[in-house]
């Protein structure tokens, strides 16, 4: 079987298209590359969904934690502590348990126990807590002068937040937020590994790497392939976030633009 044929058969296997049965003997490098790559679709899906939705919740959590309103502050603090203070692994376990209980109470909750929804929700909550903490830290460091200047110009309330506070907060938080995004993508490998069952062998990259390691009894091929894909993914994330960073800081004079140094780490 040529490699192109393999790609046609297994390239979208993780979504359920193409060849139904996974290869079971005479494993080629091409098969391993194709299937593990196919699994990356899920890793990217989980990462993108959680990140996109998490952005809004984390902003809300950061504002909540900084707010004077006691209930909003306490709720945000506890949410962040709970999700940052416990391993994702255990969060998946409890979430799956809870989803199973919901499922048995009403059929409307059925999709919660499948990974595409259930795991995405857990990752969304998890990354919101981490990013919320990052944004909160940035919010605290917004220069006092900026706010005072806005007030002097009569910019207040929602408008001040949207035009002054929020963009500055983003700019300050961006390097750490990039780190969080990288870690979120790494964390997506835990979905099928410790949380949710892979229905009809549709799994993520780690799931297929594990499959090959199990069948060939040789871990030294599939896991480095997995590592290779993740290095590519990480580089892509860094590039995209770098471009956004350029846009966020485009009004600043060249030297004052903070370079994308990925060092302050607020991570998983």
């Amino acid at each position: 079987m040529s490699c192109l044929q393999t790609i046609a058969d297994y390239g979208l296997r993780s979504l359920g298209f193409g060849e139904r049965l996974l290869p079971s003997s005479d494993f080629t490098l091409c098969q391993q590359f194709t299937l593990i790559g196919s699994g990356m679709i899920w890793n990217i899906y989980f990462g993108v969904v959680a990140l996109a939705l998490g952005f809004f919740l984390s902003t809300a959590l950061a504002l909540g934690k900084a707010s004077d309103h006691l209930i909003a502050r306490k709720a945000s603090e506890w949410f962040i502590f709970l999700f940052r203070g416990s391993p994702l692994f255990i969060q998946f376990f409890f979430a799956y348990f809870a989803f199973l209980a919901l499922k048995s109470s009403h059929p409307a909750f059925d999709p919660l126990t499948s990974a595409w929804l259930g795991a995405a929700i857990v990752l969304f909550l998890n990354t919101s807590a981490y990013a919320g903490e990052i944004f909160h830290g940035a919010l605290q460091s917004v220069p006092k002068g900026d706010i005072e200047a806005a007030e002097a110009y009569g910019i207040t309330g929602w408008k001040r937040f949207r035009r002054i506070t929020f963009p500055t907060m983003l700019r300050l938080a961006w390097p750490a937020y990039t780190n969080e995004a990288i870690f979120l993508f790494h964390a997506t490998t835990l979905v099928f590994f410790s949380g949710f069952p892979a229905w009809q062998q549709r799994g993520d990259a780690l799931y297929y790497a594990n499959y090959f390691a199990d069948k060939t009894f040789n871990p030294f091929v599939p896991y480095p392939i997995l590592a290779f894909y993740f290095i590519l993914l990480t580089l892509t994330v860094i590039t995209i976030f770098g471009l956004i960073n350029r846009r966020l800081t485009r009004h600043l004079p060249q030297e004052a633009r903070p370079r994308m140094r990925l060092r302050p780490m607020l991570v998983r």
Binding site: G85, S86, H186, T189, L206, A209, L226, L262
Partner: protein, 293 residues
């Protein structure tokens, strides 16, 4: 104590006491110690790896610099779980191979026979005659080393940034006073970099704590291993304490453990930050100075 010989006949409370003190539970309790010990050893070792990595990345010797940068870039780009899946076996084989070269130079059989990895009996780590505790200690050390390699890369990244954050004017001043590069590094950069590294390092510590559930992948029987084992439904045929699926309770205990550990760490780090800020050219240090004046 109660007589636990015949658990079926015991009342609820006595049953629970007997259950929670069974040999298996004692192993479970000990595994908490294993996790704490691993954290206590891994943290300084990772820090050392990180320091070496960061120093290498700053080095003027090009290959060394590439090595330092490559190490941090590659290891940080890969999910830790992917490393854990094959690293321990790789490390183990690497060490045995080295020992084999030293101890059995006359060995003429190939080391790889098909899929077998064969070294002479004297090169085995630990020797196959060694008692089980030595095997376990060795396995534990490999786990520590694997953790340290992974987290060392993150620490290197943090320290590299911290070294660059030490105000440049200070380095120039040192140079003006005739400090050599080496002196500047050890007397100016290293003592001051910690305050800049602290936020990153404290986060790293938090990640390290939360990576310990992956220990079972490294062949160490940790708290998650025992929680699963104990929590799984037990049939009367195979246990004196049959019960249904109790994993929820065991995982709740783990959750409490991790939250507690996180909380304690937060408090400790807040204290260290306060102490390290003292006399530093940072906003917090400035605040302390003003408050004292």
């Amino acid at each position: 104590m109660f007589a636990c010989a015949d658990p079926q006949s015991l009342e609820k409370f006595d049953w629970l006491v007997c259950y929670l003190t069974s040999g298996k539970h004692v192993l479970f309790y000990q595994s908490f110690g294993v996790v704490l010990l691993l954290l206590a050893i891994t943290a300084p070792v990772s820090l050392a790896f990180g320091f070496l990595g960061a120093s290498a990345a700053r080095s003027q010797i090009t290959p060394l610099r590439w090595f330092g940068k490559g190490y941090t870039a590659i290891v940080r780009g890969v999910p830790d779980i992917a490393f854990f899946m094959f690293f321990v076996i790789a490390l183990d084989q690497f060490f045995e191979y080295l020992r084999h070269k030293v101890k059995c130079p006359d060995w003429d059989l190939p080391i790889r026979q098909g899929s077998d990895f064969i070294v002479c009996a004297q090169a085995k780590l630990p020797l196959s005659t060694a008692p089980q505790w030595q095997h376990e200690t060795y396995g534990f050390s490999l786990a520590v080393l694997t953790f340290a390699i992974v987290f060392g890369a993150f620490a290197a990244n943090v320290l590299f940034g911290a070294m660059r954050s030490v105000p440049h004017a200070q380095l120039e001043t040192a140079e003006a006073y005739g400090f050599s590069r080496r002196q500047t590094f050890w007397r100016i950069v290293v003592p001051q970099m910690w305050i800049y590294a602290l936020p990153g390092l404290s986060n790293l510590w938090m990640i390290l704590i939360k990576a310990t559930p992956l220990l079972f992948l490294l062949g160490v029987e940790d708290i998650v291993y025992w929680a699963r084992e104990l929590g799984a439904a037990k049939q009367a045929r195979f246990s004196d304490y049959p019960h249904g699926d109790w994993r929820l309770y065991y995982f709740a205990a783990l959750l409490a453990f991790y939250l507690l550990l996180t909380r304690i760490s937060e408090i400790v780090f807040a204290r260290i930050t306060r102490r390290l800020s003292h006399g530093q050219a940072t906003a917090a240090g400035e605040k302390q100075r003003k408050a004292a004046a």
